[in-house]
Amino acid sequence: MNAELHDCRDAFAAELMRLADENPGIVAICNDSVGSSKLGEFQKRWPERLVNIGIAEQNMVGVAAGLANGGKIPFVCAASCFLTGRALEQIKVDIAYSNANVKLCGMSSGMAYGELGPTHHSIEDFAWTRVISNLTVTAPADRTETTQAVRWAAQYAGPVFLRLSRMGVPDILPPDYGFKPGRAVQLREGTAVTFIANGTLVCRALEAADILEQEGLSCRVLNMSTVRPLDREAVEKAASETHGIVTCEEHSIYGGLGGAVAEAAATSRPCKMRMMGVPGRFAPTGSASWLLDHFGLSPANIAAAGRELIHSR
């Protein structure tokens, strides 16, 4: 694993530029978030294709639906907390229920805004979006998967929610990796326990597996970037071939990846589970990395959860 860390927003913005170069229908729309969405270069190159709608998320999402109605492929770029929380009904009605060809890009999701506090944390967005029909919800793990997911979203005719972070992550996936929505990717084979992670937690789950490997426990690691539609088959296999599942996500333990995996397991092949994520309380003040450790999302703690599950009866 390359230890160098990368902000996936850079990969997102670069790929969006390449796509916009190839397809004049692609436009970007944001809520006074040109900088935080890394759209500065896009705006310089195509000022007429970058719509800064101002601080108005409900309107932003509705306008995106209208742009799609007019034949455009809008990429809505906004902090995930505001995009999903403020405009949830527009996402449901104008985008998903109207089958609008809009790509919702939730930036700086999870705990990324750290010390700015729970108003800016976006640890509810999986829960809110994955219950909406006709909406693909995916959270890439590194810059390679980000690039490929953005490219996939542009050619897919339908609503997508891409959940992106600003927290640096190492390269995990090979350059020739082929992103497929709704398909988990096995990063490590093992039988003791399965770690199912996505987004910024994939690298931590891999480190947790390394720790347990040194104790003679071979662990499976799945990158489950897409939480809707969920790869139920991968969950069932993990449930039957290993001793249980530990889910890892930068999201509330309620309603996110852990919830989706639990739903799949409980209704097909019940297994022991542990859910690693943000517990159901608002965060204290602290940086993003401090908060992740505070909430037990360090590799050591994830490994401990796996160890405990293996030895539990």
Binding site: E48, G54, N59, G62, V63, G66, K72, P74, V93
Partner: protein, 255 residues
């Protein structure tokens, strides 16, 4: 339709029926056999609860057979209680929750402007729904982006679900609110088709500005016992009321 379905929003249907008729048979360009024709004018029915009136007009315009109107709100019908883009041809965006139509219309008008396209965008808004803040976010943006091929028609019947708008959450001075947001605004009688045609023929009201037409209407228009009665927001006529209403509307048509 409403009597057979046993549900609907007859008061608001009747207040906007003349506006819809004027739009579909004098203003809008569309090809019912190709509802997704990229050059069509876009019409957004923001007051989605008045789907009944919209379906009647879409049938008359040729998007669906008139026979299908009898399936209104029946199981598996395309004629959902609120218009659905994924079910019904001619519906540009699904509506129902209020305050959704104008942002979508703004986006469509923006797409047309980017392409220098000739097609225009219209949105019909209820007056009560102007209490939703999303409308004003969209109104602000439409003026900022100088969307002069966008027109809003406000069905100003003065009543919302439970009470007059002015005793619920005051909308007046409504025209000046739109003007303050940068819209060229005029008022018309929303039941005087000749007057409305004249206003529509003069669009845009002012180059470089979106147009707002406040159409003064009567909820339950054309049926004496429904007119301006709050309870007829979504009351369903019984057999006797149905017959009387039909008679009054038929008389109005021939007079």
């Amino acid at each position: 339709m409403i009597c057979d379905a046993g549900t609907g929003h007859i008061g608001g249907d009747l207040s906007c029926a003349d506006i819809l008729a004027t739009l579909y048979f004098h203003v809008l360009h569309y090809t019912p056999e190709h509802p997704e024709n990229p050059d069509r004018d876009r019409f957004v029915m923001s007051k989605g609860h008045c789907a009944g009136a919209l379906y009647a007009v879409l049938a008359e315009a040729g998007f669906i057979d008139a026979d299908e109107l009898s399936t209104f709100m029946a199981p598996e019908s395309r004629l959902n209680g609120h218009p659905s883009r994924i079910k019904m041809p001619g519906v540009e965006t699904s509506t129902g929750p209020l305050g959704h139509g104008l942002p979508v219309a703004v986006g469509a008008a923006m797409a047309a402007k980017m392409e220098n396209a000739a097609w225009r965008t219209f949105a019909l808004l209820g007056d009560g729904e102007l209490q939703e803040g999303s409308n004003w976010e969209a109104a602000m943006a439409a003026a900022h982006f100088k969307l002069d091929r966008l027109t809003v028609i406000v069905d100003r019947n003065g009543l919302q679900q439970g009470a007059p708008t002015e005793t619920t959450n005051t909308l007046e001075p409504l025209a000046n609110k739109w003007r303050a947001f940068g819209w060229e605004t005029t008022e018309t009688d929303g039941h005087d088709i000749d007057q409305m045609m004249g206003v529509f023929d003069g669009l845009p009201l002012k180059a470089g500005h979106p147009s707002c037409i406040i159409a003064r209407t009567v909820k339950g228009r054309g049926v004496s016992f429904m007119q301006n009665k709050v309870e007829w927001h979504h009351k369903v006529p019984n057999q006797d009321e149905r017959a009387r209403a039909a008679l009054e509307l038929e008389r109005a048509k021939t007079s």
